[in-house]
């Protein structure tokens, strides 16, 4: 099946501009040298490694990009950004793509990573700081693997490295305000 570039350009008009606005990066500058994929620690597990993500973006193939597992598997290590000969912040583009995918509800590819983010930020929102035990267990419960990493968790606890209860900061109200205001502002946009 041929990709009809004319139809794609029409259907996804403005997509590339939005990626550019969100990330501040011009992906058209990518000349497909492959260095990002070559250095990517997670590239081997991605359906569309970074170089192909850039190419798909150049052709405005929005669905392929936003439905890929790659944008979720990206560990944001920024090796790609550091080495890109065209000075494209590829990790930054990945951030923007994750955010876009989440807003469009396209998080099927690697649900657990998105879940982790939710649980993590939920903890921050609630206490002002992350409660690691709560995050780990919360994530496990929501991915239906309650005993995953239980050994590590127990180890940490025995070594006095895991707090059983979260510590709440005084300015928790300020944090909650930030979350609320950010959401309001972004929904308005």
């Amino acid at each position: 099946m041929h990709i009809n570039l004319t139809a794609v350009a029409k259907a996804n008009a403005g997509f590339l501009e939005r990626v550019k606005a969100a990330s501040g990066q011009d992906v058209a500058q990518c000349y497909q040298c492959g260095k990002c994929t070559a250095g990517c620690p997670v590239g081997y597990a991605m359906d569309e490694p970074p170089t192909r993500i850039m190419r798909l973006l150049q052709l405005s193939l929005k669905d392929e990009v936003l439905n890929s597992n790659a944008i979720w598997l990206c560990s944001t290590c920024a090796t790609c950004t550091t080495r890109c000969p065209k000075d494209i912040d590829i990790a930054g583009v990945m951030d923007s793509l994750r955010i876009m995918a989440k807003r469009e509800g396209r998080i099927k590819a690697v649900r657990s990573i998105d879940l982790f983010n939710d649980v993590f930020l939920g903890s921050v929102r609630k206490y002002g700081r992350v409660h690691e035990l709560g995050v780990g267990m919360g994530h496990n419960l929501r991915t239906y693997k309650p005993f995953k990493d239980a050994d590590i968790g127990t180890g940490l606890m025995l070594k006095g490295r895991m707090k059983l209860l979260p510590s709440k900061i005084k300015g928790q109200g300020e944090i909650a305000r930030i979350f609320n205001e950010v959401r309001k502002l972004e929904e308005a946009e």
Binding site: D95, I113, N117, L121, I152, L156, E181
Partner: protein
């Protein structure tokens, strides 16, 4: 030397030994750390994967708190360090972001506090002064320094050391009498951010790092990040199970090794709470 201290969430829990050793070493070296009162989480990877504005606004609160103290910020955690640096640069250079952050935090950000990693802070000491403080040099210890991602990348944000062959930690180890081995995985990602959500990938990445470290002939790995340290240390049992390997590579914070060289008691450096025993390393401090 006086710094506003931003320990970050990990140092209050899983990385308590990093917090302990940091405080001990800084106190011994005359670096005064004053914890930022009521500091909050930087948002870490989850924030910048979810909302750009959130990823700047959460650190902004801490930058403002430190600014009020009139001190530069020392950050032991590499992830917090990079997020605070990133936020600082965004707030400085991007007026639109600055205005939005002011709107969501209700506070106007002023660029008063510079963000430094704890590694950078310790390395800024006069090397002769540091050497003069060494009482139990780590003679014969072969260490590989692991910088990971966020201390050195992207260089536009971090910038205090070379992103491909950083030397800051290596030089500190040498000052302590240890041998800092050259190796190829100084800045390879350990996948800590996916440790909970996608362990299979993390195990592979950690396995690779341990393998290269072992081949280089290292007695231990040295880390400067609580996420890297716990990832590299605590997952070795899982890795050995998954790959049939037999890793027992102690992973220490650079502050713990400096602490040993400074003659601080191992117990006060949190050396007992590691997954892989550190007793073999402690012996090097003579």
């Amino acid at each position: 030397m006086k710094y506003a201290y931003y320990p970050g969430c990990s140092l209050h829990a899983t990385a308590r030994e990093y917090d302990q050793s940091t405080r001990e070493v800084c106190s011994a070296l005359g670096i005064e750390l004053i914890e930022i009162p009521d500091w909050s989480c930087c948002g870490a990877t989850s924030a910048h994967s979810t909302s750009h504005l959130l990823s700047v606004a959460l650190p902004a609160r801490n930058l403002t708190l430190a600014g009020k103290m009139g001190l530069d910020i020392a950050v032991p955690c590499a992830a917090c360090y990079q997020r605070l640096r990133y936020a600082q640069i965004e707030l400085d250079q991007n007026e639109g972001v600055r205005e939005k952050v002011a709107a969501v935090t209700g506070t106007v950000y002023e660029n008063k506090a510079d963000v430094k990693s704890l590694l950078e802070v310790v390395a800024s000491l006069d090397p002769e002064y540091l050497k003069s403080k060494i009482v139990r040099p780590l003679d014969g210890l072969k260490a590989v320094c692991y910088y990971g991602c966020l201390l050195v990348r992207p260089p536009r944000v971090t910038g205090f050391d070379d992103p491909e062959d950083p030397q800051t930690m290596d030089n500190l180890m040498r000052a302590c009498g240890a041998e800092a081995l050259d190796w190829g995985y100084k800045t390879e990602c350990c996948g800590a951010s996916m440790g909970i959500s996608n362990e299979a990938i993390t195990l592979k990445l950690v396995r690779d790092i341990l393998q290269v470290a072992e081949k280089a002939g290292a007695d231990c790995l040295v880390a400067a990040c609580p996420l890297c340290q716990s990832n590299l240390d605590s997952r070795q049992t899982h890795i050995n199970r998954a790959f049939g390997t037999g890793f027992k590579m102690p992973v220490l914070y650079f502050t713990q090794l400096i602490g040993l060289a400074l003659g601080i008691e191992p117990a006060r450096l949190g050396l007992k709470s590691h997954f892989v025993a550190t007793a073999g390393i402690v012996k090097f401090a003579t």
